[in-house]
């Protein structure tokens, strides 16, 4: 998946970004050591986040991750440290937890796309290091200007790519449904979000993994130099310009067909495993249907824990809604599209990969 030249460029960019930032703001290694404090069992000090990605500016804090073999870590919350007018944030992780997480990354990245999504969506609840910090560790630069855990980027990048592609796909589906439901403003929102997610997915495909949405667009522009000849890159960039224009006007979003075409192209280029490309069904949890009649033509749908409810707009039957091909969305009536959109928002319905 990765070209070695690109791989080396990523590493060089990361270290240069860190060195430039520390130099510009006069932060010496001694100051970092003072912030970190004494830990004889410290294995690695990693500079992470905006510093590494070349996105730090004058208000950025200096994000540090400490990898230690000391079992004295009592809290996994980040600590704020203020020194010489600068703001540092430190957080410690056990080196054995890192090893466990890297094994898990390796395992999940070998799953089918469907299983991968299922495993990764529960990551923060099941794994010892949250997604955000896992990305920061893998991309982190140590004080010897090395990226000690960068060997795990192919696994992380594959997982990230599929995860973001799935978000993109959900947005495409919701944009089409919103148009059919005559929710034109929400359609514009789904298109903008979908394009940001596909930018993230494409960048991850090439090994550039970012955990913060605020950076997607700026890094996308920055990556022109790598992808300028790639038709998919041009297609996404052109759709983004149109999406932003639509957002600022009263016009209807006119690029939803192009978005669907982009979705089809991305399946090819990003090599996402969807068995039947025209049949990517929406499925409804059957238990929810017709369980709580409300008033005529309406059901009250209540989830397992009983604390969330949604009123469906009309009666639904399992046959009507159980499996709806993506390509059929354009033909849905306004009422049907609205109901499905509501069910997706309330997590009663789900779009599978």
């Amino acid at each position: 998946m990765f070209e070695s030249i690109l791989y080396d460029q990523i590493k060089a960019e990361r270290t240069n970004s860190c060195q430039s930032f520390l130099k510009e703001y006069g932060i010496e290694e001694d100051e970092l050591k003072k912030v970190i404090g004494l830990d004889n069992e410290l294995k690695e000090v990693l500079l992470t986040s905006s510093l590494v990605h070349g996105l730090a500016n004058r208000t950025s804090d200096v994000d540090l991750i400490l990898v230690t073999s000391s079992n004295k870590i009592t809290s996994k919350a980040a600590t704020q440290v203020f020194n010489n007018g600068k703001h540092f944030e430190t957080i410690s992780f056990l080196s054995e937890d890192l090893e466990e997480v890297f094994l898990r990354l390796n395992e999940i990245s070998g799953f089918t796309d469907h299983e991968l999504l299922k495993a990764f969506s529960n990551w923060d609840a099941t794994e010892k290091i949250p997604k955000k910090y896992t990305e920061r560790i893998v991309n982190g630069v140590n004080l010897k200007w090395e990226l000690p855990f960068f060997e795990h980027i192919p696994n992380l990048a594959r997982i990230w790519k599929i995860h973001s592609f799935n978000n993109f796909r959900q947005c495409v589906a919701c944009a089409i449904l919103a148009i059919r439901a005559e929710e034109l403003n929400s359609a514009k929102g789904y298109i903008v979000n979908g394009l940001l997610y596909i930018m993230d997915s494409i960048m991850s495909h090439f090994g550039f993994v970012f955990s913060n949405k605020k950076w997607f667009l700026q890094r996308w522009e920055h990556h022109k130099k790598y992808h300028i000849d790639m038709p998919l890159y041009r297609e996404v960039s052109s759709l983004w310009i149109r999406a932003v224009k639509a957002l600022s006007s009263n016009n209807n979003p006119n690029n939803v067909e192009h978005l669907y075409s982009l979705y089809r192209n991305c399946i090819e280029v990003l090599n996402v495993a969807i068995e039947n490309r025209d049949l990517n069904p929406i499925a409804i949890k059957k238990d929810y249907l017709n369980k709580n009649p409300f008033i005529r033509e309406s059901n009250l749908l209540i989830n397992d824990s009983g604390n969330t409810s949604v009123v469906a707009l009309r009666n639904l039957t399992e046959n009507e809604i159980e499996m709806i091909p993506f390509s059929e969305f354009y033909n849905l009536s306004k009422e049907d599209a609205k109901v499905i959109l509501c069910l997706l928002r309330s997590r009663v319905a789900k779009i599978f990969l």
């Binding site: 996105l55 500016n57 004058r58 208000t59 950025s60 804090d61 996994k76 919350a77 980040a78 704020q80 203020f82 703001h87 978000n167 959900q170 947005c171 919701c174 919103a178 929710e183 403003n185 929400s186 359609a187 514009k188 929102g189 789904y190 903008v192 979000n193 940001l196 949405k213 605020k214 950076w215 997607f216 667009l217 700026q218 996308w220 522009e221 310009i241 932003v244 957002l247 600022s248 009263n250 969330t308 928002r345 309330s346 997590r347």
Partner: protein, 179 residues
Amino acid sequence: MITNLNTSIKFFPNINSGVPSRSKESIKNLITGAFLLSTEGRALFEDFEGVEISQPETMYVLKIKLIEFLFEMEMILNDSEVDQMHYFPLCLEYGMPDVLKTEPERITKIFGLDCADQTDIEQIAYLWNRIISDFPGNIPNPLQNDQQGEFLQCLRNWSKLCKRNQIDDSFLIPLFKAL
């Protein structure tokens, strides 16, 4: 770029209306809202302050993130939940009546999304100051060294408030973990 758009907008109209809530959940919701304003909200505004002229793309996405953040506040205040992917679209279509009293159609203009290369922070600073000042009470800033004590005092107040009202304050733990 302070425009006439701003004159009629009101933040947190329901909280400030004096209409009481009948649910104890509203205590948890208010505490969670204040916590998020002082942590995620402050951090987001700090991001805005740091954006340079050479980073118009970041500024644009930050504006979307600010709308998403406020929509999350909306969900918290009215005790609802939806996946983050829907925040921005729902806000554009239906607005966020518990957070901002305005027509949904005006949101893109109010938050400056009608200009892709706009890096002028004046309008965002105005909105942020209004958000902070319209929320009842003084929202602490834990990102400032000299306000750590005030933030801790808030946490103590919230813990006492929960105990007095027989509310389990463990709901604050995931908020801390997410920081």
